[in-house]
Subunit: 597 residues, 2 copies
Amino acid sequence: MPEYKAPIREIQFVMNEVLESEKHYANLPGCEDATPDMISAIIEEGAKFSERVLSPLNQIGDQEGCQFNDGEVTTPTGFKEAYQQYVEGGWPSLAHDPAHGGQGLPESIGTVISEMVGTANWSWGMYPGLSHGAMNTLQEHGTDEQKEIYLTKLVSGEWTGTMCLTEPHCGTDLGLLRTKAEPQADGSYKVSGTKIFISAGEHDMADNIIHIVLARLPDAPAGTKGISLFIVPKFMPENGAVGSRNGVACGSLEHKMGIHGNSTCVMNFDGATGYLIGPANKGLNCMFTFMNTARLGTALQGLAHAEWGFQNSLPYAKDRLQMRSLTGKKNPEGAADPIIVHPAVRNMLLTQKAFAEGGRGLIYFCAQLVDKTKLADTKEKAEADALLAFLTPIAKAFLTEVGFESANHGVQVYGGHGFIAEWGMEQNVRDARISMLYEGTTQIQALDLLGRKVLMTQGDSLKGFTKMIHIFCKENADNDAMKPFIEPLVALNKEWGELTMVIGAKAMQDREEVGAAAVDYLMYSGYVTLAYFWARMAHKAQEVLDQGTDEENFYKAKLTTARFYFARLLPRTRSHAEIMKSGAESLMEMDEEHFIF
Amino acid sequence: MPEYKAPIREIQFVMNEVLESEKHYANLPGCEDATPDMISAIIEEGAKFSERVLSPLNQIGDQEGCQFNDGEVTTPTGFKEAYQQYVEGGWPSLAHDPAHGGQGLPESIGTVISEMVGTANWSWGMYPGLSHGAMNTLQEHGTDEQKEIYLTKLVSGEWTGTMCLTEPHCGTDLGLLRTKAEPQADGSYKVSGTKIFISAGEHDMADNIIHIVLARLPDAPAGTKGISLFIVPKFMPENGAVGSRNGVACGSLEHKMGIHGNSTCVMNFDGATGYLIGPANKGLNCMFTFMNTARLGTALQGLAHAEWGFQNSLPYAKDRLQMRSLTGKKNPEGAADPIIVHPAVRNMLLTQKAFAEGGRGLIYFCAQLVDKTKLADTKEKAEADALLAFLTPIAKAFLTEVGFESANHGVQVYGGHGFIAEWGMEQNVRDARISMLYEGTTQIQALDLLGRKVLMTQGDSLKGFTKMIHIFCKENADNDAMKPFIEPLVALNKEWGELTMVIGAKAMQDREEVGAAAVDYLMYSGYVTLAYFWARMAHKAQEVLDQGTDEENFYKAKLTTARFYFARLLPRTRSHAEIMKSGAESLMEMDEEHFIF
């Protein structure tokens, strides 16, 4: 039976030691309550809830899935009760505005809780995850009245939320969407259309579901500039309770590869009453708030599946006896050696570990940037905004790609048993697979990074980050212990800029060069970015070891893992660099009609 | 609804044009019947059967799975009837000995049929696939009487076969197996023990099932040198029919990630009557015959999922309208451009295509080697044996790894829809996942390649292949059109040898270096091997184009795909070379107890 143990020591290391959260919160107005003791207590409670309540439901959720009967959705056994406990524990309100019942804690603390919840049970975590997206949208764009009616109920967790974007004929290309909103005399709208892939669109966990829906006004311009945002409740609110049923219903559930515990709904809006949120025709702009949060949330999924895969591969690799070590018996009393003695098995375990821990560094860093975009002064906010815009597609696409890889290593460590459902390793792969698709595919993130973020800013957004790396490398130039990390990092940081120039120059001649290079550029960027965080973690570990510590093994393992990352994962940049330089021609020259005969 | 169309033109190109099958068969004694016309007719019939009978059952097999009731297994709707048609068509007998009812055609023709059957419906294809393994084992090691009783029934398809190797505590490490065989006064044995992961172990398709079982005699030495091979029928044969039930039964079916249509059984042997096949205690040696065939059969699975993924991604990429090309509207009348205009989508399609077609080159080449190992004269046979031994782990591990990658590209091309069951793309991923596990994991193939095949022969087996590449490159040294392929191939062929020397030297100091380098060595070898086959295909295409042809587009597409392979897939060797040079230290230095805290 697979298990999840919240990696509290790892979380503390990244949050408190590497990213100095105490200093971070002390410098941010409104974070005065986020004292180290309080954060510790919250994380411990979140860990208990994730380990004891959510983790045991993960496999049940996969096996039972959600059931659809006559428009009603029943979630798997225990999901509803877990949600009740979640609400009673006050978790939905953690990082939300006290004016609407929130606890006002910074987003970065919510990220830690989301990590634990999501790693224990990603399918379950999506229900509050979607609410969180809806809450952020209401917080940012809702009127006071809308906040009073809807946001408070979402913050308390009594109601949940969704985000209704995709339609059958449009996912990435939201400019094509057709759902209509007809204005009514009372200022409301009648919303009609079909939305698909609506996570948590219908379920039995809460009294009401608040849909945030993208739709077009009758006179809206075509394309992305004619999209508006609407609040469409499942039940009409009535004095803080639920009133009559609105004209929105779940038409069916999708049969999916994974995340079976989450209800993925076709939602039919049939003249449903809705309310405009934000300015007319600016819905897509309003959605960017949500999308960036959602992308970081999906980046977490990469970390989650790598961490879960690692945690559940390791005990098997220590227990399973098979073959002898190539250098002689390591377990002479046993019939064979545990497979962890084999280099190829260690390679898979260390890959999972290095991606999980490195990914945590990247994501927590981004979460601190989110805090700053909300709370810091103008200059710092602007810097954080730019850096976050640059790092978000990297975090989303790179971490989900390597998260999926790591989940697959989990299956591989188990050999044939990895393919069998009871061990849980194959579920981890199936659940992970969606992460490279939703909230913008890897290919879309890559275009966003290279096209919109890097080339459209003439490389400024890249420079914002490479400058940070440069400063870090300079500070450690004379640190002999750091040499194995600093030298390659300096070289890659330089190459990153050069490659960008090369592609930028080509793109001036032919815009296809952007699309041709983008995915390899993104993966390259991901490996270098994680190398920076691994170097920072190695630096911190070395510092603590130099000062003396009674946790020597913990910090030494950080250095060992960093060395592994630099020796065996970072060289993947070599292929990505080569491929992105190869240009667009080999992709574009094949005539559409000649792919197959 | 996904579809399969047998790629007959592609099959002909590799078989007849690149690998010159007519010459191949003409030179082999016993292949006189394999005339081009006859082969064509067989392939066309096999294509029809695969497209019309098997392909429509592929999704049904996944959805229904096999049902287990009281020891009986019911296969999915239509599977049994399809098997009946297969038997009536005489397919089981194709490549088997006329002395036992076979058609005596060479193995390489059977490979083409297996490709089509397996691509249309891998789960279904495993039933005859396992029979084929059992037949080869009986043919090679059975007595005349055993052949008469069992082989003829398997060749006719009336009965099917299995291979019973794995036990709960041992997969890779067969030396640990515990199943016992007690000799009886009548010369038979009583076989007792539990076998797991037995594909086609129990089903409703045939009257009898012949299990080939690995077990230990009472006085057998421990480890791999004490394993013998037994025939254990489900029903005792009686005058060419089935008699009483033997003491072997299916205990349960595994719940698996994929290949749901195939019954993966726990088989309990409880004093079942069995007959020794081959010499006592030499069972593992006898199994090598089967294992090599099985590994090539699994290599086919890599090709199958790449080909299927490609065939079913392409129409979607042409139909699905989403976003505009970066270089302006390509479909101005439509609401958006088909996604095939985007370089990243083309990259995925061409990757699938290049792996499928390159993989076909490698596998068909291996199949010709199999023919030679069976039919050629001593010297040619020995060469073919050595080359086949070298190429088998590459074909098995490399092609299944890139087959899985290609299946995943299929999901990715579909975006969110790829995650939904009805499109079939996610099934392709789930079915593909087993291929890197069974018949020896990628990690085991890698050790086999680098340790047993390359280093234990002092590099001789590698040289046998690099010499072929060298000769090909030399022959084309003055061919300007071939320059873009020959130049990189020459360089890689040289580097391959150099890397082998470097690792070999390190391995003299520390044997962990073998395990540490093996997987990257194998993947590197795979990319270079496929580059050789792509160069040969390009060469043939160029030759035909130079001579003039009315299929200009077909041959030009070969050159385009070859250029794509060299530009965007072959550079992956850069990372593998770098990583394998990084050595064992970064893998071995982490103490087992310090992986997690």
